[in-house]
């Protein structure tokens, strides 16, 4: 068996979005839930990157939070290094093996803390090093590792640019000596030239430290650059999951094809095309059957009524009636 770091099996997560109890009772409304993640399964092999890509409201950030145990699945199981996630979270020696990098470099660092304390926090929390001197040395080493100077530890976050803050965030994530990092849109708040720096840094670190990434992004080009495997999400479900290169070279699912068609690209200079219509439906009130059917050029009656299940086609898992029936 291959070495699986994180495995999600049929994970579903519902959120209660009803109004407060009193108001709900007074106006006689039923309880309402939003299914942010619907029957999602994936596994991430050690030292590789699985990316999840999708538009807003597709549930990718919820999966990021589920993967580090900030949320619990409503149903289904997640395991980390072979242990159930909740058991792994309860044990400091396993909990320190996972960490997270966030989207907004302006919100992910406590503005009142010095950088050295921000980076040292996981070291202190897990009591990895005891003496102040060892901690200082280690923080300096971590800051150098992400391309900052050890002297930067004395400063406060507001003294840094967005890209530098993201480096600090990465240094903090690395300080607990993790094997597994969840990266939730780590570059979407950055300018492109800085994005390139951060993506390069993350790839370097992965190679040097053997890190495993769960990489969440809405940017297909970034995802293509980063991933070994790729899951495409739509309204809480993974509609296509397979090797990154395969998905980009020969996308099967109509949604993936729509995305690739829609994204403006430098190579498209001077060319025109007809974009696909329709909008992402609200997850509060998802369409029946296959959630993509209202925008899908291949939809038929079966798509409108019956949720497609995942089928393994060659090496790719696809949830689409049209492909399973050979209509596409």
């Amino acid at each position: 068996m291959s070495d699986i770091v994180l495995q999600a099996s049929a994970v579903t997560r519902d959120f209660d979005i009803s109004r407060p109890l009193l108001q709900r009772v007074l106006s006689g409304e039923p309880k309402r839930t939003l299914r942010a993640v619907d029957d999602v399964s994936f596994a991430i092999e050690r030292g590789t990157t699985l990316s999840l890509v999708g538009e807003s409201g597709c549930g990718k950030s919820t999966i990021a939070r589920l993967a580090v145990g900030l949320y619990r699945p409503s149903t289904g199981d997640i395991s980390f290094e072979g242990h159930p996630l909740s058991a792994a979270r309860a044990q400091a020696s396993l909990r320190r093996k996972m960490n997270m990098i966030f989207q907004d470099p302006y919100a992910s660092l406590n503005p009142r803390w010095r950088v050295r304390d921000i980076v040292a926090e996981p070291i202190r929390a897990f009591a990895i090093l005891a003496s102040q001197k060892d901690i200082t040395d280690r923080v300096g080493q971590l800051l150098s590792q992400v391309g900052l100077s050890p002297a930067d530890g004395e400063k406060y976050p507001h003294e840094f640019s967005g890209g530098q803050r993201q480096r600090i965030s990465i240094a903090r994530a690395l300080s607990s000596e993790p094997d597994f990092l969840v990266c939730d849109e780590p570059t979407s708040a950055l300018d492109v030239s800085v994005q390139a720096q951060i993506l390069n840094l993350m790839r370097d670190l992965q190679q040097r430290l053997g890190l495993t990434y769960l990489f969440i992004s809405h940017n297909l080009a970034v995802v293509r650059h980063m991933s070994d495997r790729l899951g495409v999400m739509y309204l809480g479900r993974i509609v296509e999951l397979g090797a990154g290169e395969t998905l980009f070279r020969a996308p099967r699912h109509p949604y993936m094809r729509l995305l690739l068609e829609a994204i403006p690209d430098l190579a498209m200079v001077g060319r025109t095309r007809t974009p696909v219509g329709g909008e992402v439906p609200s997850p509060i009130n998802p369409p029946s059957g296959c959630p993509f059917h209202p925008r899908c050029p291949l939809a038929n009656d079966r798509c409108r009524t019956e949720k497609p299940i995942h089928t393994l086609i060659e090496t790719t898992e696809i949830a689409c009636h049209a492909i399973a029936e050979g209509r596409a």
Binding site: N99, F102, S108
Partner: protein, 311 residues
């Protein structure tokens, strides 16, 4: 210069250069308020050194000295610049000592309200759910009553509950408790609101991912980030708390005439307002008004100075 003095000079120089200090330098109202406050607080704190008489020293009081008008009036004399009261107390000294008591009560009451309110607000905001609902409904209910009414109520209950002698000894603490209890909900509501915002920020999530306890996240991460607005509310409420104390004392449920606060002085003087001895009530009243106004103006400025959107 010796090293500590140099260090202090450097810290002051750095403070002088901050946006905060800059905004202060550009606000004449804040500067004037600050100066007024320095005079009030300075006079109060150093009253034992500065005051011409000790109004608490009953032995030195003589009824012969009572109802002296201020020095600038025809019958006034220079020994009592703003006159004396019915007991023969020097008004200036009485006001200085009275301000001392008023400020002491105000500060401690706000300190108490702040501690309670911030704790409740943090817990409610961070924990959410039923804890939040219960704590905030309590605050809501209390906010529907005027603070002074709550203070009167608490004071009354404590008076009834505590043995007489004990109560007399603890009078000032009862007052502090009553005012503090009356003023916590505003702190709690504000802190809860800021906590809700901070709780959703990613640095809090980063702390949750490494498994820090809620208590530690609240204290070391959220608390420092919600204190800005608290400072403003504390300042504005300090003025109100001093007024609360004055009101309670004026109504006769506060401090005893033997150790008068500003409110007590105003109440005593009020009896003589229409018999011509206006100075006994007017001067403590002016002092109270000036001090509370200065605190409020300073609080208003602080609110603007700490609001990043107005910069």
């Amino acid at each position: 210069m010796n090293p500590p003095a140099r260090l202090i000079a450097r810290i002051l120089a750095r403070f002088w250069d901050t946006d905060f200090a800059y905004s202060f330098r550009r606000a004449p109202v804040a500067i004037v308020s600050f100066l007024v406050l320095v005079v009030c607080v300075g006079g109060a704190v150093f009253a034992p050194l500065l005051a011409p008489y000790n109004p608490f020293d009953l032995a030195s009081l003589s009824l012969m000295d009572s109802f002296h008008p201020p020095a600038f009036m025809p019958d006034g004399d220079r020994t009592h610049l703003i006159g004396t009261d019915d007991q023969g107390r020097d008004m200036l000294s009485a006001i200085m000592y009275g301000t001392r008591i008023s400020i002491f009560v105000g500060l401690l009451a706000i300190g108490f309200a702040l501690t309670l309110g911030v704790t409740v607000g943090l817990v409610a905001g961070y924990m959410g759910g039923a804890v939040d609902a219960v704590l905030m409904r309590i605050a809501d209910v209390q906010l529907t009553f005027p603070a002074i009414l709550i203070a009167l109520l608490v004071d009354g209950i404590l008076r009834a509950a505590l043995p007489r002698e004990f109560h007399d000894k603890m009078e000032i603490w009862v007052l502090i408790f009553a005012i503090g209890i009356a003023r916590w909900p505003q702190f709690a509501r504000t802190v809860r609101g800021s906590t809700l915002v901070e709780r959703g920020r990613e640095y809090v999530m980063a702390a949750q991912v490494i498994g820090l306890s809620s208590r530690r996240i609240m204290i070391s991460h959220i608390l420092p980030n919600v204190l800005g607005p608290v400072l403003v509310i504390a300042t504005l409420n300090l003025g109100l708390a001093i007024l609360d104390e004055a009101t309670l004392s004026f109504l006769g449920v506060g401090l005893a005439p033997t150790e008068p606060s500003l409110g007590t002085l105003i109440r005593i003087g009020n009896n003589f307002l229409f018999s011509g001895e206006w100075w006994i009530t007017i001067f403590p009243g002016l002092m109270l008004a000036a001090m509370v106004l200065a605190i409020n103006l300073l609080g208003d400025w602080l609110r603007d100075a700490l609001n990043p959107r107005l910069r």
